[in-house]
């Protein structure tokens, strides 16, 4: 028998706190994507590079990011680096961990995207006198971003959900952190976390829909 009385009012009263927590989660997700995308471009290039060091570092990064738990990756940036005397604060450690994960996953997506662009595009650009970096930046990259746009927005949703790992490294300002604090004070676990789940759900939907809107505005061709 259900022997539990729901108390939604305290949870709803905490809504403003949780929403400002949600904003922090969203902020971490966005920043981790920006950083992740930048690294992913280099990793994707590294994976195709003939330079052994560049290839090796990129491959190791991608393999680690994709084949170990995200929780492990966040632990490493907080406790792992901590044991070498590099003590990042919870927010930065979480951001670094998720950015690391994003970069690894996106690198493989980008590599696929790059392969889909015919080599003749680069040749045409070079024949106009563009340098190799110019041809990459002006002709190849913009086309790649269109190809990988939807997988990228998936990763963004994933990044948002990964921010909930912050609670394991002591972050208490993001949505999960705020919710956990409320939970330990009141033990209204179900109500608070159900509300948090609804907020995560809405945020994720918001990301998916706004990326669709972005794509529609951005890719007219």
């Amino acid at each position: 028998m259900l022997n539990y009385t729901f108390h939604w009012r305290p949870a709803l009263n905490a809504l403003p706190d949780m929403l400002s927590g949600a904003l922090v989660s969203l902020q971490i997700a966005v920043l981790s994507m920006v950083i992740g995308v930048m690294f992913a471009v280099f990793l994707a290039l590294g994976r195709q590079s003939s330079n052994k060091l560049f290839y090796g570092v990129s491959t190791a990064w991608v393999e680690l990011a994709r084949n170990t738990p995200a929780l492990f990756q966040v632990y490493m940036t907080y406790f792992g680096l901590g044991s070498f005397g590099i003590q990042l604060d919870s927010y930065v450690a979480l951001l670094a961990g998720i950015a690391f994960n994003n970069a690894g996953y996106l690198a493989e997506t980008f590599r696929g995207g790059l392969r889909a662009i015919p080599h003749t595009q680069t040749r045409a650009a070079r024949s106009l006198g563009m340098s190799a970096p110019q041809a990459f930046r002006l002709i190849v990259l913009p086309q790649m971003f269109r190809i990988v746009f939807y997988p990228m927005s998936n990763q963004m949703v994933w990044a948002l959900l990964m921010t909930s790992l912050g609670v394991t490294v002591g972050l208490n300002t993001d949505l999960t952190g705020v919710t956990q604090d409320l939970n330990v004070r009141t033990f209204r676990t179900f109500e608070y976390f159900a509300l948090a789940a609804v907020i995560y759900y809405l945020l994720a939907k918001f990301i998916t829909l706004s990326s669709r809107l972005f794509a529609w505005r951005l890719f007219r061709y």
Binding site: R123, S127, Y221
Partner: protein, 240 residues
């Protein structure tokens, strides 16, 4: 002036150019004809350094294209090339396609680049299509856009690599008209083509390529009208 001296080019063990020598003077239109795989297109790629060579020398206005230390990006600014597959940049409008290199390579201002682009596009008959994306153009229009894009760099030489081969028959005419217009304006051109009648019409000289070598070169009347070598005679018989 473009000079090729005993140029040799291989892809792996396959030798595609087996010692090609050739001179193209300023203002001259040279057509290059010959069967598929005879090395015609490869020669064009070598002239602007898109492909390395294994032997010989290519000089453009006295600059050795394949020498160490040659600034290829600089050199390519004066050699325009248009490919069989027109290679429009799909993410840019027609106008942006043509403006991009003048802005980013020549460092022109936006206004200047736009002025050049509009002029060149109008010149090839695309003045009405400036804001359109390439995917909305026909093959012939995309090819003319590619020509305008190369011309916008104000090159001294233009190389055309079978620019009508990928087009539907009814679109070939508009591109050939554009080429003809350029030749009448005095542009120095090397034209790799399968359009023998057209080659005869616009060229100062015609070169016949066969198995990586120039077998005959001379005026259109000589090479197309009165070929001497059996390979040339056979080739012309098969295409005319």
């Amino acid at each position: 002036m473009i000079e090729l001296k005993d140029v040799r080019k291989s892809f792996g063990s396959l030798e595609v150019l087996k010692g090609v020598s050739l001179t193209v003077q300023k203002g001259e239109v040279l057509s290059v004809i010959g069967g598929s795989g005879s090395g015609k297109s490869t020669m064009l790629m070598c002239i602007n350094g898109l492909e390395p060579i294994q032997g010989g020398q290519i000089l453009v206005d006295g600059t050795d294209v394949h020498a160490r230390g040659t600034d290829l990006n600089k050199l390519r600014q004066k050699i325009g090339i248009v490919f069989q597959q027109w290679n429009a940049f799909p993410h840019l409008t027609v106008l942006e396609n043509v403006m991009l290199a003048p802005r980013k390579v020549l460092g022109k201002s936006k206004r200047e680049a736009e002025e050049i682009a509009v002029r060149q596009l109008t010149h090839v008959g695309l003045g009405e299509k400036l804001k359109v994306y390439p995917s909305k153009l026909s093959g012939g229009q995309q090819q003319r856009m590619a020509i305008a894009r190369a011309l916008a760099m104000q090159p001294d030489y233009m190389l055309f690599d079978e620019v009508t081969s990928a087009l539907d028959p009814q679109l070939v005419g508009e591109v050939l008209d554009t080429l003809k217009m350029l030749s009448e304006e005095g542009m120095t051109m090397i034209l790799v083509t399968h359009e023998i009648r057209f080659a005869r019409d616009v060229s100062d000289r015609v070169a016949f390529f066969h198995k990586g070598l120039i077998h005959e070169i001379g005026t259109p009347e000589q090479v197309i009208g009165n070929p001497q070598k059996p390979e040339t005679i056979e080739f012309l018989k098969s295409v005319l």
